[in-house]
């Protein structure tokens, strides 16, 4: 344990001790009160290591790619949690773990208080039904030889109780209607649709089983600018209509800000900062978040002229061999000797622990400071 952690609050309050679901708590940004919500999903110390092997005849493990290396977060009911970070930081791996497409190396995923990683058989199937994934690439994630009706209705094969045989066609047509596609398209094939329409097909399929949680991995990244807004608006409408909770993964920080209530920032398999949308975007305290935000250009030359950019040196190190202490230290302009020695925990930094306001949120940095990297100097 980090000695500096003493006195600083950890950001996970509540917990399973009481048996009941925990409450995701966060400071209210000025103006927009952030209401804590009942957590529908709690991820604790999640780890996924992929073995690195060597040798052709006798394969032996020589190390591990630490794709996800100890991540905890909570998702409130009806809430959108955005997850951002650079390519390779582990976002998709988190998505696959949370949706049960891969088994974690360690850690737990609590759905309504129950650890999904320990379930099997019918209990697991029931949980899986409630946590669905929408994938990034509308071009490759749909089977080209299946009709739209078969694709959207496929989840009913595994869960026939949701739609008995005779009702499937009608259910599928309803779903197409819900996502703004013509229900008469049921017999068409994916190549007959545009990228935006294919993404709608993917969303309709994700909705088929009436899940409570949708994990969307880069759902709009492959879309044209003019079509991206249509899909973002659709996802927001569906969230209200069906009371969905989203984990929304994207590398586009502007889209994430638009859609998210809370945002987590990942670097090399770890969350380095988490908070409400305005805490992260207007009052970030972690140097990586600050650099990431400052690198995003804003479509407004006047605003651009006022900004100063933090340009990071170098690139993300390999997740097979992350730096000691703080993973970000090889690119951090504030790094001190302590950063190589001690890993900063994801807690509210001590200096902000007793402060009111937006800096009071978890940030894994020994020298956390407030800075607004978007607005003018």
């Amino acid at each position: 344990m980090d000695s500096d952690g003493a006195g600083a609050q950890t950001w996970q309050q509540g917990g399973p001790e009481g048996g009941g679901p925990a409450v995701a708590e966060s400071a209210s940004p000025a103006g927009v009160p952030y209401a804590p919500r009942e957590a529908i999903l709690e991820v604790r110390d999640l780890v996924k290591h992929y073995p690195l092997t060597q040798g052709v005849v006798i394969r032996r493990q020589v190390g591990a790619v630490k794709a996800v290396d100890g991540i905890s977060f909570e998702l409130g009911r009806g809430e959108t949690l955005g997850i951002v970070g650079e390519s390779g930081c582990g976002k998709s791996t988190v998505a696959k773990l949370v949706t049960n497409l891969e088994a974690p190396t360690a850690g737990s995923i609590l759905y309504k208080g129950e650890d999904v990683t320990r379930l099997s058989g019918r209990a697991l199937k029931a949980v899986r039904r409630n946590i669905q994934m929408v994938f990034q690439d509308p071009y490759t994630s749909l089977n080209p030889r299946m009709t739209v009706g078969d694709i959207v209705g496929e989840p009913f094969d595994i869960h026939p109780e949701v739609a008995p045989k005779g009702e499937r066609r009608r259910k599928v047509q309803e779903l197409l209607d819900v996502v703004g596609l013509n229900p008469e398209y049921v017999n068409r094939y994916p190549h007959q649709f545009s990228g935006g329409q294919r993404q709608r097909i993917g969303i309709a399929r994700g909705l088929a089983l009436r899940p409570e949680v949708i994990v969307a991995d880069e759902p709009v990244s492959a879309l044209d600018v003019s079509v991206q807004a249509q899909v973002v608006n659709l996802m927001e409408r569906l969230q209200d209509e069906f009371d969905l909770s989203y984990v929304f993964i994207a590398h586009d920080l502007s889209v994430v800000r638009h859609i998210s209530d809370r945002v987590g920032v990942m670097y090399l398999g770890k969350l380095v900062e988490i908070g409400t949308e305005s805490e992260i975007y207007e009052h970030p305290t972690h140097p990586y978040t600050q650099a990431l935000l400052s690198a995003v250009p804003v479509p407004d030359p006047d605003a651009e002229a006022e900004r100063t950019r933090i340009v990071l040196e170098g690139e993300v190190p390999s997740p097979a061999n992350p730096p000691s202490g703080c993973h970000f230290r090889t690119r951090c302009w504030k790094a001190q000797e302590k950063c190589a020695r001690e890993e900063p925990p994801l807690t509210v930094p001590e200096r902000f622990a007793h402060a009111e306001g937006s800096a009071h949120h978890p940030s894994a940095c020994h020298y956390a400071e407030e800075r607004d990297p978007i607005g003018p100097e």
Partner: protein
């Protein structure tokens, strides 16, 4: 009302003719399903030391325009069916192939989105950079290698001397893109065309690469055509913007004016539909519908099926590129109402 029709952009007010002047360029592709009209009468100019951003969504004809200028279009299936490409005063479309090859690399160079597929995977990076000097300048092997390492240092590759022996796949995406920039700069060309140079990169690396490109452009006083679909990238680095839709330029303007007061409904639609990092917006104003198929471009104004202010005339008459201000043009019949309303 003075609506001068500016089919080709107004000549620059003073000084010599622009470095590059494209006039009324037409390119089509013969496909199994019919003829795709990829570029339909594109005109623009670039001056020395100027950055022109070409902004447009996927399929709007940006890359094809760039390939036509570079002389690297796939012919067939592509075909240039009309227009002029004047570079330093001469029409490249009338220039013999041998001569164009010499111009390419030496006087104009291109940076592609996907550096990995544009570099040779079996030759070291140092060898490929040196080759530029050996082939175009007849420089000796040893001298070329020294120049290659110098170039790698210019684009800030750490430990350049040692890394010159490495192969492209041994570099990260950002470093490969910097090597592409080094390759383009090698012979100090007058014009560089960068086609989505940072689209495949993460934002932090994008900022490094764009910063480098802007520094070098200033230093060498090159003309730069920056092709992108990202309205943010453009705001920071471009002097002027040309917005493309369905193979046409629908608006051109100095960068500040285009963002402050767009003179075309498509440009306005794009600006309204993207979420902004510095604003927690309300609902996004999406543009309805989809970009058209180039096999069946709508009649009249090609944007009319999606345009929120379209009227009957828009379906019938194709709007010319009206001059709407100093150095500004818009291909909308109702540009004036749009500008007055803002």
């Amino acid at each position: 009302m003075t609506q001068t029709q500016a089919q080709s952009p107004p000549p620059s007010s003073s000084g010599p003719s622009p470095l590059l002047q494209v006039r009324d360029l037409h390119v089509e592709f013969h496909t199994r399903d019919g003829v795709a009209d990829a570029v339909n009468g594109v005109s623009f100019g670039v001056e020395a030391g100027e950055t022109l951003a070409v902004l447009g969504e996927s399929g709007s004809g940006k890359s094809v325009t760039a390939q036509a200028v570079m002389g690297i279009l796939d012919i067939p299936p592509g075909r240039i069916t009309g227009g002029e490409i004047l570079f330093e005063g001469r029409d490249l479309l009338k220039t013999p192939a041998e001569e164009r090859r010499r111009i390419r690399g030496a006087r104009m160079a291109m940076i592609f989105q996907d550096a990995l597929s544009s570099l040779n995977p079996v030759l070291s990076v140092g060898y490929q950079l040196g080759e530029m000097f050996r082939v175009h300048r007849g420089t000796s092997r040893k001298e070329s290698r020294i120049k290659a390492v110098e170039l790698m240092e210019r684009v800030r590759i750490p430990a350049a001397r040692a890394r010159a022996n490495d192969y492209p796949h041994q570099f990260s995406g950002g470093m490969r893109q910097r090597i592409m920039i080094a390759m383009a700069l090698a012979l100090e060309p007058q014009l560089i065309i960068a086609d989505e140079p940072t689209t495949a990169l993460d934002v932090t690396v994008q900022a490094q690469v764009m910063g480098l490109l802007a520094d070098l452009q200033r230093e060498y006083r090159m003309g730069l055509i920056l092709i992108t679909h990202d309205l943010g990238v453009v705001a920071d680095v471009a002097d002027r913007i040309a917005v493309m839709y369905a193979g046409r330029i629908v608006e051109t303007a100095p960068v500040g004016e285009l963002y402050r007061a767009p003179a075309h409904p498509y440009t306005k639609g794009l600006l309204d539909s993207i979420p902004r990092l510095d604003q927690k917006g309300q609902q996004l104003n999406a543009i309805k519908g989809l970009p058209p198929s180039l096999l069946r471009i709508p009649s009249g104004c090609s944007f009319h099926p999606r345009c929120p202010v379209a009227r009957a005339v828009c379906r019938a008459d194709e709007p010319p590129l009206y001059e709407v201000g100093t150095g500004r043009a818009s291909a909308c019949h109702f540009w004036k109402e749009l500008l007055d309303g803002q």
